[in-house]
Symmetry: C2
Amino acid sequence: MIRLVERNAAVLIIGNEILTGKIQDENTPFIARELFSIGIRLQRVIVCPDEIDVIARDLDALRRAHEVVFTSGGVGPTHDDVTLDAVAKCFDTPIARSGEMEALIRAHFGERTTEDHLRMALMPVGARLVHGIDVTWPTVAIENVYVLPGVPEILRWKFAVIRKELDRGEAFFSEAVFTHADEGEIAGLLHELTRDFPSLVIGSYPKMPGAADHRVKVTFDGKERDDVVTAADLFVARLPAAAFLRRESAR
Amino acid sequence: MIRLVERNAAVLIIGNEILTGKIQDENTPFIARELFSIGIRLQRVIVCPDEIDVIARDLDALRRAHEVVFTSGGVGPTHDDVTLDAVAKCFDTPIARSGEMEALIRAHFGERTTEDHLRMALMPVGARLVHGIDVTWPTVAIENVYVLPGVPEILRWKFAVIRKELDRGEAFFSEAVFTHADEGEIAGLLHELTRDFPSLVIGSYPKMPGAADHRVKVTFDGKERDDVVTAADLFVARLPAAAFLRRESAR
């Protein structure tokens, strides 16, 4: 539950390959961790197929409901790369070739440059290019939407630049307690702590017996480090001693 | 693009742990592959936080737009397990303790059974229990919605039973061609094949140079095996010979 005033974000993963199970989405976990580390709450992820109308409709809902939106996928030169057309449709703006992008593409592909390569120079009118000093390809952004590729390595390079744009020195703090208890045994205690620490997000994650060294991992997340640590302290203190396994801090 | 009349599905992943990047979602890839193997198209995945109103609203949209919907997560006994309340809210029905579920829970936990364990016996009124001969815990289903746990091992056991319910002997066929070409070089050819084989979904997935043995993987998916094979044959035949690496069939 979100109780703090904080920035929030959404991700739109565009990819038939994820929906058919051909490729596992590595970009959502990466973006989720990055946003957590700069104190932006990822509130929503949608995976949709490579269809202009669906992408445009989803993006429109996300960009209105969230402060920052990232799309991933569908930005190459082939027939299934329709994300920029969808972004233009979402913002009701035409799409046109960017001279700067065309120059970059021609410099990269040289004589092998095709008209299809140059499709990658198309940008929604009104979009801007986000540059990093050590990244060849700038990222297309329009209002609160960043358009990222699906290839994980390139997404990570580009995200490093965006992260700098978004980072305001905030962060979430997180404490994790690993226990041998089952969830039914600690539910009452967690309910009390949820009530007593309304600014925290408390999570309880069970594992199958034998699948890990612990039965339940309990996490305490929040922007106030003191609250996070105090809640975890109280949880450990009230837990039956035999149920405690270990504790870890993040950030 | 979906051009065939076919069954479609959506998945709603309920989990702050995915949105904060603490845990990578293993259930979407599993369900995606399973559905593909029985010819059901996964059209949409949403990841949302553990909040009743958000879950209920998302589920309501998904169940109206898709033939089958799976939820994953939020079905344990702790404060953050609110999925069944949300399902009840979505279907505008009360929630009540199932005698059958209560008996199963008491048999499992014995004298250690707590009121919190018994929260797991709560079901939306009007829901049914889907049983498998080799699965201890039945799955709650209501209309076209199956309510699955977040723990991957349990989800897989339960899904095996649901798969039997849904399997009508259909499947998607898939051929993959791995090439050394870059996407700009094959975009025109793929565009033609997309036009000539409207019943197929053709995908093009680039890799970073050095990240794999191929540059682009091209996939041809469809319910008509002949179309799938013919389109892949034509692609290979028209590809510059030096660009061809290998070909794989699925199912």
